[in-house]
Structure formats: C-alpha cells, structure tokens
Amino acid sequence: MLVVALGITWRYLGSYMAGVFEGRVRYLAWAERPFYRVLGTSPEQEQTWKRYAGSLVIFSAVFLGFGYLLLRVQGSLPLNPQHMGQVTPALSLNTITSFVTNTNWQNYAGETTMSYFSQIGVLTVQQFVSAAVGIAVAIALVRGFSRRNSSTIGNFWVDTTRCLLYILLPISFIAGIILVGEGAVMTLAGPVTVHDALNGVTQTIPRGPAGFMGSIMQLGTNGGGFFNANLAHPLENPTAITNLLYIWLTLSIPFALTYTFGKMVGSIRHGAALLAAMAIIFGVWVGFTVYAEHTNNPAVAAAGVHSTVGNTEGKEVRFGDTSSALFNISMTHTSDGAVDSATDSYTPMGGFGPLSGMMLGEVTPGGVGSGLYTILVYAVIAVFIGGLMIGRTPEYLGKKIQAREVKLAGVAALVMPVTVVVLTAVAASLHAGRAGPLNSGPHGFTEILYALTSQGNNNGSAMAGLSGNTAFYNVVGAIAMLLGRFAIIIPALALAGTLAAKQTVPAGLGTFRTDNGMFVGLTIGVIIIVGGLTFFPALSLGPIVEQLSHGKFW
C-alpha cells in the first residue's frame, strides 16, 4: 500500500511541484504577491547563483540568530504553562542550528525543556522553513540542468515562498487533521493529571500541539518531535495507521522530487532513473534491516528468552518489528531522523542499516531537496567516470561535465565524510567526548559515530544512549550540522550556476545514456563505493565487530 501511495505521489505531487516552481500553479498568487511586494522582489527578478546563495545564507543566519534569542528568553515569553526556564546557551546553539539545518537533532527532551512558544514559534517554523530552503536549492540545481546559456537560476525568495505556500502548508495541514483524528494530541492546554482507580496510579500526562507539528516535521523530513520519545510516543504516533502516514509523509516529497526533476529537464526517464537508484538502495536496506530485527536481541536471548517475533527491546507493540524497521530506514535514508523505536537497542546489523543509510549521504531518497541535490552530485561523479569509459567528455542532460563541475561535485561529496570522520575522531580522543556513550564495547563507539554521522548528514536520528546535552557535544554537533548543510548547499548552487551557463549538447547514440539501467547501476555504485570506502573502517569498529562478537557482552 505504501508503494502504491508513493507511486501516486511520485507522479502527481512530482508534477504539481514542477508546476509550482515553473510558476504555472498560481491559485495562491493573491497571497504571494503582497509578500513579494513587502520584500521588494518578484518572480521576474531572477538571481545569479551567487546572489541566490547569498540570500539563502543570510536568511538562514538571521533565522539562526533570531531563534537562538527566543530560546534563550523562553522563560519570559507567553504560552508556557509548565513554566519552563531558559534553554542553556550551548543547548540553544545546538537546537537552533539543528532546526535551521533541517537536522532536528534533539539534545533536549521536548516535554520537559521547551515551552509551547518555543515549540511553535521557533521549532515548527523552522520545520517549514528549512524544508522549503532545501527544496529551493534542489530546484535551483535542476534549473542548472534545464536551462542553457543562462546566468540566473531562479529567485530564492520566490522559490522558498512557493514551496511553503503551495506544497508544505496544505499537505501538512490535512495530514495534521488525520493524525489528530487517529489520536495524536493537539491542544495548548498543558499537562493533565489522571488517576486510575484500578491500580492506584496517578499520572501527569504532558500534552501539546503534537499532531500538527508531527505532520510538518515528517513532510519536511525534519524529524524533531514534540516529545522526547519522538514518534515512539503514543500521543504523537498513536496507531499503525499514523505510523504509515508518517512514513508516507517523509518519503513523498523526496521521491516525488525526482519526477519534478524529470519534468523540469524534459525527460521523465531521467527522473525515473534517479528514482530507481534511490528505491533500489532503499529497498535493499529495508529488507536487510527488517531481517536483522527479526533475529533475537543477543542480550535478551542470552537471558533465556527466545523470541519468535524478533528484537522487541525498544519497540512499540502497536508497530511491531517490521514496521519499526521500515520506519527507521525511511527516516535515516531521508534526512528525517524521527524514530518510532530505540535505534540504540537494535541488533548490531539492525543498527548498521540506519547508520550506513546516513553514511551513504542520505540520497535514498534523502531529505526534501537535499536528497535530490545530493544525488545529483553523485550522479555527476557517476556520469564523469561512466562517460570516460565510453570515450566521451562526459555529459549529463547535455551538460558537459568538466573540471569545474567535477571540482564542485567533489567538494560537495567530500564534505560529509570528512566532517563525520574528523569530528568522530575528535570525540573519541577527548575526555568530554569519551564520556558520552551509555553503552560500552563497540556499541559505545557506534553511539558516537552515529551521533556525528547523523548531525553531519543533517539527519537527527540518534542512538539516544549518548548523553548529547553537554557543552562538547552541543558545540561539535552544531559544527557538524552547519558543515553538513551549507558546505554542500553552496557548491551545489555553484554547480547550478555553472551548469545553467553552459550550452546543451544534444544526445546521440554515442552519448552516455543517463536514463537507463546501466546508469542507475553506476550511480548506485558510486554512492555505495564513496560511502562504503570512507566508512568501512569506522563501521568495522562499531556494528561489524559487534555483530562478530558472539557470546561477548560489555
């Protein structure tokens, strides 16, 4: 059912998004126009890649500063029924960076740290904005391919606004209503205290506007939930249906953007090729992880409890192993990072699935926008190597891939692995970093590696045993997130600029086909090889050795 739903979304949402960004869908123009007028811009005022990137960076920076301030003074702001205090500087820095970069790494427990004002006015807003920014970048890069001899790649303000208005707002609003209908909590009334006469238990249950936050957090592949337990929390993810809806929301835009890409460059086949590369890796990883989670948890098995239903530690009964594993892979292969089960307690190979998924650069299908622009970076590299092998200066969609393109794609592909590996090494060397993991043995290393991989990839998924709310991890994480976001966006936009300025070479029989199985295979190869070769040593010290340690416990 998920596949069918995604298939429909791919076709129609993809086409709709192309219409939105090409300015053909205009039913909300009445809302757009006054906004542009206030900003002093218009859809006709196109920007060069440098201005586009400049707008984006400053917009994000101003938002970062503004959000930081709000978090720091949250105690003095309204909508705070639980009287939450100020958020500490390091945590504020980490949190706002996390939300601006679409990471949604959470070093805090939502229900005990954030006021409603912060959840709504800072975090939810960023879940909209960071998603729109990511999609805008992807669209700008697509324009790089679809245009010829053009010096501009679109208007950042217009792209972002259209994305917010036409795509994110309507879908998340409707999905929010469905979520609440299924049982997600949606109130501003504060916690409620209940008493059960049957067992004498008194509970104070935290509440908040979780349902509508949940819809945008998933649609925008943000993943930062209202509660600490994220989407394992029954009040945010109450049923198997909502679980599935969350998965669909997360995967819909990233997959559909490949259609948008195909449509905008005038070849749906090209979009389908990228979709195939994404879907194949995604499918293999889902299968692998589901299989791994259907095996016994080694510790539980060693205690004499043998399971026929797989590893239940850290999983909710209403989802079960298969759904949980599917959910987890969906969230780590996008930049979402939400969890409906505790990744930390997955079997070694079950944890390998999400971790390695992020290490592949989150392109299968990746975050909203970021998945597309990152896979295009990999595709450029694949095209370069593949094109050489047929004896042509490689070209992708008629754009010659030359030194400058390879340089930009190389930088964009290089940033993430280097950031993750270097920062993990720093964390593993310093006392402050070594103090983080909850578990010992290779799993302790995995926790650190997972945290920095997640933040370096703007994912936000965590092996939550790591005590991340320390000055060290807050700051290191913020660095990882900023690099993982902007150090890829800027080369991607530069790539858009240089491609847009190029002449388009018509395709012929001698052209390296970039819309067939071979290309899909090659792209998958590049993704797996780049990710695999860089992270194999680190993985071998984490989940791999843990898997191989039969009968050993730490």
Binding site: F384, E405, A425, P442, T511, L533, S540
Partner: protein, 697 residues
C-alpha cells in the same frame, strides 16, 4: 657573415631519412634503459607535487622510512621499499610514455640544427647562415640536394621534394609556386630543380620546432579532461587522509571501551600502507602516461596534434565533415555502362567512345577504354590514316578524335548537344531523360556524338570505397553523424550519399557553405571535425573543433587546423576519433579499476589493523591471509605491481571497438569494474602465499 655567391657546399649530413612515425617497439631496449634512469630523476619533489596522488605516496614513503630507521623491523623496511617502488613504478610509466617521443625528437632536432640556409639578399646576392637564424619574410634558395631550412611558400620554381623526413613516405612529391601545392616544410629535401622560398615561420616556430615540442611533450599541459580527472583523484585522495588518520583515535577509543589489553595504538607503517592502498594510485600513477601515449599513438599514425585538447575533442566529435573525393570515393570516376540512344546499338556507342578516349590519359578516359574491351572485346586500335586528337579544354568541355573525316566527341551533355546543334544535328528527345537518370543515380553522364549524330551516353560512376559503408555504420553506432562534402550537384550528391551510407551531405559546397554548416552544428552544441587542405579551407578548419589539415596542403590550412595528417589521407579522421575515444576510455577504465581494487585491500588490511583489540575481526580476513603483517605487505606489493602490470595497457590504450555507448560501457564496467573487484582478491592471496613460501613469514 659575408655575402658570397659560392657554390653550394656538399649537402650537410642529414640523419637517415625517417619519418617521425617510424615506429619503434613499445619496449625498445634503449627506451627502457632511459626510462629507468628517468624514473629516479623524477623523484624531485617539484616534479612529484604535480601529481597529488603520487605525492602522497612519496610523503608516505618518507614517513615509513623514518619509522623504519627508528624501529627497524623486516615489516617496516619491506613496506618502505615497496612504497618507494610504487613511486618509482609510476615515474617509470611516465618515462616510458615519454621515451618514444624523446627519441624521435632527438632525431628531428639533429636534422634542424645541422641545416644551413642560403638567404637571398635584396641586392640579389646570397648569404649562408644557419637555418635557425632565418626569420619570417626572408627569401632562401634551395637547389637539388639542399635541405629546405624552414617552412615557407614557394614563390618561384617547381621541384620534386623528398618529404620522407617528416612523413616517412619515400616517394618524392612535386612542389610548385602558386596554388595549393606551394608550401614546403623545413627539414625536407629538394631532389631536383631550384626553388625560391619565402619563409613563413617565425624563428623557433617552424613546423619542425612544433613537432619536436609535440612529440617530446615538453610543454605538455593538462588537457581539460585530464584536469577534471586529476581533481576527482585529488578528492579521492583527500577523503582518505582523514579516514586513515582517524583510525588511530578510533583504535585508542576502541581499546578503552572494549576493555581489551593494550592501548589500541595503530602502527604508523600500517596506516601509511592503508592510505597508499586506498588512494587511487593505479590511475594516479598511469594518468600522465596515458595522455602522452595517446598523443604518441596519433604520431604513430602520422598525425600530429597541436594540443592534447584536440585529441580529447576528437573523442567527443559528433559530426564528421568528410570530403567526398578521396575519403568516401576513390576519387576517380569509372565508366560503368554504355547507354545508346536514337536506335544506335550499344556496340556502336562503345566503339565510338573507345576511339574518343584513346588519347585520353585521365583515369576516366582509361576506364572507358577498359570498359569497351570488357564488354565488347574492342581492342585498342592502332590508328591509321589521318587523325587528330582533340584535347579537353575548360571552354569546350569536350574531347575526342577527328579520324578520316569522322568527328567523334565525348563530353558534358550540354556541351555536346550544343556542338551537335551547331552542325545542324538534332539530339534525340530521349537523351535528356537518359542524362537525368544517370545524374540521379549519382553518376556523371558523358554524351558521345559522331558528327551530327548523338550515339548515346557513357555512365561514369563515382566508385565508393570498399568498406566505407561499414565504417559509417560504426560511426553511427558511436553516435557520430557523417556529412559528405562535395562540389557535385545535389542529385549526384544524394545518390552517392545513399550508396556510401553517410547521414547527410552538403552538395555544391563552397567554403562559405562549409563554414555555415560547421557553425550551425556548433550552435546546436555539437563538436565538429573536418579535414581540409586548401587555403580556402582555412577558416573552416579553424572553426571546427577538430581540424585535420593535410600535410600536402597550404601553410594557411596547416596553421588553421589543430592537427596535421602527414600522410594526407582524409580517411584518417576516423582513426583520429577512435584514438581520442580510446584515450578517454583508458582513463575511465583504469579509474574504475583503481577504485574497485580498494574493496579487496580493505578486507586484507582492516582485520590486521585492529587484530590486538578485536581478534574477532579476523572473520573479515576472507582471503585467509597468513598474518596481519603479511596481509598488509601483500596488499602493498599488489598495489605496486599492478602499476607495472598495467603500463602496457596504459601505453597501448584499452582496446577500442566501435559500438554503441551502452555496449562499450557494459563491457568496460564488467572488465574493469567487476574485474577490478575480483582480481586483487586473487593476487593478494597469491602474493601472500609467495611471501610465506619464501619464508618471509
């Protein structure tokens, strides 16, 4: 320097004439020796830094050397030596590629330096000076036996010239003032007569100078594609440095969390070994050799590319403009059929046609005689009685024979018709139809008349070269559009185009039309290649992305193009495209191979790296290598040896088969991608077995 009119001295000793193309074995002993020496000279850090991948290996070697001196073990010394060899092997590959060019350049250089010129002074006197002192505009005299001192145009005289020094072709060619055959090249030798040549090349800019520079690769610059690949390789190198360096803190930390004995320190030597194994050394070592060898392969086929860029562009060409004559057709039209009109018999026509052609020594004329003999056994007759041959002129456009009052003519349809009419005859009505049919078929009609009577038409067929159709089919598979350029009328052109299997044609081509066609193709984003020889081809040659000038062509043409074909064979354009493709394919294939190799190396080294902390990682030792150190050493040895093993491939180039892009890609992915995954597993295991057998372990 005194002006003398002294007789020419004995011709200077010139080296044995031999073209640059004189082929040498790939592994000529002399070149091998020289390359080995050069491998060590190239250790200069200033040379090494140009190749980021090999520079990292060199730095790594220094690190392991220091480590080996500090803590000498068999292992650390063995690794140091093999890393050093890796660098040497890379240098050797480059030196080998350069070797052949260097040897050829030496020969050419000797030729240049020993030439003496006889410069004409304004007062008519003559002055002797070394060829190197000539400057543009000087006039020189060359007589039989002289070596032409520099490039120039003949302004006076006609002579046969031996160009074998440049082209390797021993048959002399005729050079004369005016027209398209007036260019002479420095270093060639006048065999007969006397020439006055105006020097057209600046000092040090002669064709010979450029040729020396080219074959030697002296000012070789990285081509755009090579540059792009170098960047990609640099990226792949940079990414592995933190990956490897971080393993030390990872190792420490793992030792702490796992509670294993020891500190988890990773041996620096192993780290360097791992780094060298992971970075793309194979392609890094062979990259420049591949580029040089590509140029060299062109030289072997007697084509001089003025830049590596042009060679790469050749691989990208999507449109080939080919001159019909000489490239697509044999160049000579042959009589293929006699078509009688007006009730005359075919034999009658044949007989008259044969008579009219007896004195016609052109290939067309000979072919008529031959056809008449074949069809009706009409032998060449000894003409008796009074006869007079009428030669072809541009005005009459006819030729023929007056014999015993008979006046037989053959020629262009219009001309013959007018001639018949002048004598009061009336060409039969059907003639026009026949003429048109023949034209439509791509052949040339010659009308034959005997006095007032038109006998019929000879069909002169343009003979398409054998095998050319298949060649064009291959081109089409490779995605290259072929366009035939011809001066023929559209009808004829269409028919020949059809027969030869070209994709398109440009009929009644003028230089302007040719230029317009190139521009139109380029507007559409296509790369265009063409050949040309005449001065009026020069603009088009310059405009085309790949312009191959014929060596027989004018100086202007040669300067406009970015390649010169010494054999002046227009078909060579197809070879040039293939060489360009082969160059790129070789790079791509070895890059893929290099990266694919990493997988096996990981499986060899990772278990070894953390053996102390996590013995259970030995499960990854799928090759069952003898010990951690033997595993690392085997991987490093494999890494070094594979460079040497691939030198011949790099120099010869990956075998190229004309096929569609998809087929080529599939084949190369299988061989170099999948092969690159599997091969190292086998060889690392073998090397490990050998090490154990040698009791190194």
């Amino acid at each position: 320097m005194t002006a003398t009119a002294a007789p020419a001295p004995a011709a200077p000793e010139t080296p044995t004439p031999r073209g640059v193309a004189q082929s040498r074995s790939l592994f000529d002993r002399e070149i091998l020796a020289q390359s080995l020496r050069d491998s060590f000279f190239k250790l200069d850090p200033r040379v090494q830094i140009k190749n980021p991948v090999m520079f990292v290996v060199a730095v790594g070697t220094v690190v392991t050397f220091i480590e080996a001196v500090a803590k000498p073990t068999f292992f650390s010394w063995a690794i140091t030596v093999w890393l050093f060899l890796t660098v040497i092997f890379a240098n050797f590959a480059e030196a080998m590629a350069e070797g052949r060019g260097k040897a050829q350049a030496d020969t050419l250089r000797r030729m240049r330096s020993e030439t003496e010129a006889r410069r004409l002074l304004p007062d008519g006197g003559e002055q002797r000076c070394p060829a190197s002192e000539l400057s543009k505009g000087d006039l020189v005299v060359c007589e039989a036996g002289d070596v032409i001192p520099s490039d120039g145009d003949i302004i006076e005289g006609i002579a046969s010239v031996d160009e074998s020094a440049i082209t390797g072709e021993s048959a002399p060619v005729i050079r004369e003032s005016g027209g398209d055959r007036s260019a002479v090249t420095g270093g060639t030798r006048v065999l007969s007569d006397r020439l006055v040549v105006r020097i057209t090349a600046e000092r040090g800019q002669t064709f010979l100078d450029r040729m020396i520079g080219l074959v030697e690769g002296a000012n070789r610059q990285k081509t755009p594609n090579e540059l792009a690949l170098t960047i990609l390789l640099a990226v792949l190198t940079i990414v592995f440095i933190p990956v490897v360096v971080s393993l030390d803190p990872f190792g420490h930390f793992s030792a702490i969390v796992s509670g294993a004995k020891g500190t988890g320190t990773v041996d620096v030597v192993i780290l360097v070994a791992l780094l060298v194994c992971l970075i793309p050394t194979t392609i890094g070592a062979l990259l420049s050799a591949i580029g040089i060898a590509g140029m060299d392969r062109l030289v072997q086929r007697n084509v001089l590319a003025m830049s590596g860029r042009a060679v790469e562009a050749a691989g990208d060409v999507q449109t080939l403009l080919l001159d019909k004559t000489g490239t697509i057709t044999l160049g000579n039209r042959m009589a293929s059929k006699f078509i009688p009109v007006g009730g005359h018999s075919e034999q009658e026509l044949a007989s008259a046609a044969q008579l009219a052609s007896l004195a016609d020594e052109t290939p067309e004329g000979r072919s008529i005689v031959v056809l008449a003999k074949e069809r009706f056994a009409i032998r060449e007759r000894q003409l008796e009685g009074s006869h007079e041959f009428v030669a072809f002129t541009a005005q009459t456009r006819m030729s023929g024979l007056d014999l015993d009052g008979r006046r037989i003519r053959k020629g262009a349809a219009e001309a013959v018709k007018r001639w018949v009419a002048e004598q009061g005859g009336t060409p039969p009505d059907e003639l026009d139809g026949v003429v048109e049919t023949v034209s439509k078929a791509g052949s040339t009609p010659l009308v034959v008349a005997d006095g007032r009577t038109v006998l019929g038409v000879i069909e002169l067929k343009d003979v398409v070269k054998q095998g050319i159709r298949e060649k064009f089919d291959q081109m089409r598979q490779m995605g290259i559009r072929t366009v035939m350029i011809t001066g023929d009328n559209p009808l004829t052109a269409a028919a020949i185009a059809q027969e030869a299997g070209v994709d398109d044609y440009l009929a009644e081509a003028t230089p302007e039309a040719k230029m317009a066609l190139i521009k139109a193709e380029q507007e559409g984003g296509k790369l265009v290649a063409m050949t040309g020889d005449g001065t009026n081809d020069a603009p088009a040659l310059a405009q085309a992305d790949v312009g191959v000038a014929m060596n027989t062509g004018t100086t202007a043409a040669k300067e406009a193009g970015n390649m010169v074909d010494l054999d002046s064979n227009p078909t060579k354009l197809i070879d040039v495209v293939e060489i360009g493709k082969q160059l790129l394919i070789t790079r791509g294939a070895l890059t893929t191979f290099s990266i694919a190799n990493d997988v096996a190396k990981y499986f060899a080294i990772i278990p070894a790296l953390f053996a102390a902390t996590y013995p259970q990682l030995n499960t990854l030792n799928v090759m069952k290598l003898h010990s951690p150190t033997s595993a690392v050493l085997s991987a490093v040895i494999f890494n070094a040896l594979v460079i040497i093993a691939l030198v011949p491939l790099a120099l010869r180039g990956v075998r190229f088969r004309a096929a569609g892009a998809s087929a080529i890609l599939r084949r190369n992915v299988w061989i170099y991608g999948i092969g690159g995954l599997i091969v190292p597993f086998i060889f690392i295991k073998l090397i490990d077995l050998v090490l154990v057998a040698l009791h190194a372990y």
